[in-house]
Symmetry: C2
Subunit: 142 residues, 2 copies
Amino acid sequence: MRPRDLTFQECEAILSESRYGRLGLCADGKPYVVPMSYVYSPGKIFLHSRSSGKKVDLAKKNLEVCFQVDLLDKDRWSSVIAYGKARLSSDQEAKRRMFESFTARDLEGHGGKAFSRGDLKKMEMTIWEIEVEEMSGREGIW
Amino acid sequence: MRPRDLTFQECEAILSESRYGRLGLCADGKPYVVPMSYVYSPGKIFLHSRSSGKKVDLAKKNLEVCFQVDLLDKDRWSSVIAYGKARLSSDQEAKRRMFESFTARDLEGHGGKAFSRGDLKKMEMTIWEIEVEEMSGREGIW
């Protein structure tokens, strides 16, 4: 059986329901893939990370990223990939937008510490906002 | 809590025990991530795919790939990433090596069809062999 393309609505449903995905980066001619929790809000993917480290360094070299989410079981797989430019910031306004999208999904942690609105100001954290420019998905059997 | 680096042995254990991971590719300045079943044999990752399609096209542009495997649960994550050059081929010898590594792990399917040694000759299939040049892993809490 050949894989089937997912519709836009099916892609959005998978992105909306999952909690974890993989960020894909590409710099110096090499790919990098790292799992992250995220929230999808139509047209946009929110992530958060520490303010330094490999993924931040690579994103600074190339902001063209992808974010991939899949559902895998023994028989069947489906996968959605969204492409876009990442915007990285640590200002209060971006933290507030991220906080609202994460708490709406019950995802409130950062390195094992729950965060409240009041904590945000002092937390050293980078917010990633990916404006989705292109999205596609497929499903198939292994 | 800061993430912890995994030892080489811990990385190999995760690669050896999992069935699915994500191949990362990088071409034309953009990353691409796709889930695939795989088998790890010390120092090498075996994949198989159709002989045409997006991932094959991208790999032909840049053979520097990564393969990422993770274990994610609500509280904790661990992730291993292996980097190397992919070698793509469809000759009988590569098919035989892939077949032996896959059947040893009880992974015998390709697009929903089980394959036997006798079928291999006629199956249109590309074998990916990634020689692992570098590998690292981390674990942490969300």
